[in-house]
């Protein structure tokens, strides 16, 4: 594992020389460290680059980390990771990605993750993305997340892009069965000329299924963000989509949440709010002794959590 990877791992996960629990570290398309546990097995996929992660039924309180790092330009890393989560498990999955580029060539990571959550299982999925390096080559991260939630299961996604990524296309598609729930917290920061496109498509297919998607983003400088969410209620269900964005002069944010109620008892809500930081917010913090710049930084840090 090279030193850049180590630095990226510190930024995108709680790595401090080692991981607790099962893990696989991917560096420039290759595995540079792997460990399974008694209840979480990690193996190579037989039909494509990537991993199969199998979590035994009833596994509770364990974690699996599968960070991926690209540390040079000219690399286009594509990986397919499938998670099979056994019934009644309760686990933490950490899948951050860092791209570092000092060259003029583009560097990209494209992780396609599929989650199969068994009945009554619960997964917290943490995904943190970052770009570093001063090269002019574009740093891209294009994650695709597909999830299939069986009855009574819960997937909680905590996803953030904390800076430095020039281009990202983030696609999440989820099918939710009866009594299952999807909770999404997404935070994105774009600066300079960066682009971010986020897309959610959620099908609520079973009685009492639910989805709560909250996306908060900050678009600075001349960056551009697009947010699209589609919630389809095919059963008695609850769905909520919220997109809040803080925008600078010169930046662009397009938000288009959509709802499709295909059942009379589908209760669906969407909210979208885009605007500059309110002058009163800056003023309040200035009356507490912060400068205008400090106040703005505090508001953005809080907003992005």
């Amino acid at each position: 594992m090279n030193e850049i990877t180590k630095e990226l791992l510190r930024s995108i996960s709680d790595w401090s020389g080692a991981y607790e629990g099962a893990y696989n570290i991917r560096e420039n398309g290759c595995s540079v460290g792997r460990s399974s546990s008694d209840c979480i097995k990690i193996e190579n996929k037989s039909d494509a680059p990537g991993l199969e992660i199998r979590i035994l039924p009833g596994t509770k309180g364990q974690s699996v980390s599968i960070p991926a790092c690209v540390t040079a330009g000219g690399i286009d890393d594509l990986t397919y990771n499938d998670f099979y989560v056994g019934e009644d498990s309760d686990v933490l999955i950490i899948a951050g990605c860092g791209v570092h580029n000092e060259s003029g060539e583009p560097a990209r990571h494209n992780g396609i993750h599929r989650f199969f959550l068994g009945k009554g299982s619960r997964v917290k999925y943490v995904e943190k993305h970052i770009g570093t390096g001063s090269g002019k080559g574009i740093k891209s991260i294009d994650p695709v997340t597909e999830a299939y939630l069986e009855e009574g299961s819960t997937l909680e996604m905590d996803s953030s892009q904390i800076g430095g990524v020039d281009s990202t296309v983030r696609v999440t598609r989820v099918k939710v069965a009866a009594g299952a729930r999807l909770l999404v917290r997404e935070r994105i920061l774009t600066e300079h000329e960066q682009n971010a496109h986020t897309e959610f498509e959620v099908e609520l297919n079973g009685k009492d299924s639910g989805a709560d998607i909250i996306s908060r983003s900050v678009a600075r400088d001349r960056s551009k963000q697009t947010y699209k969410s589609v919630i389809i209620g095919n059963a008695p269900c609850t769905g909520h989509s919220e997109c809040d964005a803080i925008i600078d002069d010169g930046a662009i944010v397009d938000a288009s949440p959509s709802l499709f109620a295909h059942h009379a008892d589908a209760a669906l809500i969407h909210e979208a709010a885009v605007g500059k930081i309110a002058g009163e917010q800056i003023l309040k913090l200035r009356t507490l002794g912060l400068t205008e710049e400090e106040a703005e930084a505090k508001i953005i840090a809080g907003f992005l959590g």
């Binding site: 908060r216 809040d244 309110a278 009163e280 917010q281 003023l283 309040k284 913090l285 200035r286 009356t287 507490l288 002794g289 912060l290 400068t291 205008e292 505090k298 508001i299 809080g302 907003f303 992005l304 959590g305």
Partner: protein
């Protein structure tokens, strides 16, 4: 301690709100500024805090000319300001806001102590965001708590009683008494409330952009009460500041 000399201020559409106002507030005093709506009270409070700057005149604080200091510099010089209409922040928790106000990390015990003074059961609030999930009354109490946490020499409250929901005025008055008597802070309170007027060391009546009376005796209270019927008579300062 605080001295304003010949302060004038006009609104963006050139209506003269303050007209050569003079005011002094002694060290450790609790001064209530009252007067009809539109008389210039909120403008005066904002000028003391540095949110607005006078068109002419001077402001001295502890002997220092602070006329040209901006709002951040006034805050750092020891002036706190409690907004009449508190601000909401998506993503900033009550704990974070309180620590920003205090300028340091605060233990849970200390946070509970400060929030307790404004009638909030602190543990239920620390991790909550200062956003629309809080009621107007809760937000108002948190606003008061932020200036209490700052422990500055001078605190300006702009209509602190506005939006205080179920929390009683008696509790609010206890807060002022504590800050004033026990902590020795200087308080300038903009208020119409008789119960707040009655705890003042001095009542200052503003009308038509000038100080029209000051004192604490019965005659002064009678004068203030008589002014209560003048609310609609003056120019519309509230259009700018939401009074």
């Amino acid at each position: 301690m605080l001295s304003l000399k010949n302060i004038s201020w006009s609104s963006p559409d050139n209506r003269e709100i303050l007209k050569g106002l003079d005011l002094t507030v002694g060290d450790g005093k609790l001064v209530v500024i009252t007067g009809p709506n539109g008389s210039g009270k909120t403008t005066l409070a904002r000028i003391i805090a540095g949110i607005e700057h006078p068109d002419s005149g001077s402001i001295f604080f502890d002997g220092r000319d602070i006329t040209d200091l901006d709002v951040t510099e006034r805050a750092r010089a020891g002036i706190s300001y409690a907004f009449q209409q508190p601000v909401r922040f998506k993503g900033i928790t009550v704990k974070k806001l309180m620590e920003t106000a205090a300028g340091e990390s605060l233990s849970e015990r200390k946070l509970c102590e400060i929030l307790g003074t404004v009638g909030l059961c602190a543990k239920n609030y620390l991790t909550r965001e200062v956003n629309a999930t809080l009621s107007g009354g809760e937000i108002k109490r948190i606003e008061l708590a932020t200036v209490i946490a700052r422990r500055t020499k001078l605190t300006v409250f702009d209509e602190p009683e506005a939006g205080i929901d179920l929390w009683s005025f008696k509790s609010l008055i206890e807060v002022f008494k504590n800050l004033h008597k026990d902590q020795g802070r200087t308080l300038v309170i903009i208020s119409h409330q008789e119960r707040i007027l009655r705890i003042a060391d001095e009542i200052i009546l503003i009308d038509g952009g000038r100080v029209s009376g000051r004192g604490t005796d019965t005659a002064m209270m009678d004068k203030v009460m008589a002014q209560g019927g003048m609310k609609a008579a003056c120019c519309k300062e509230e259009e700018y500041f939401g009074e």
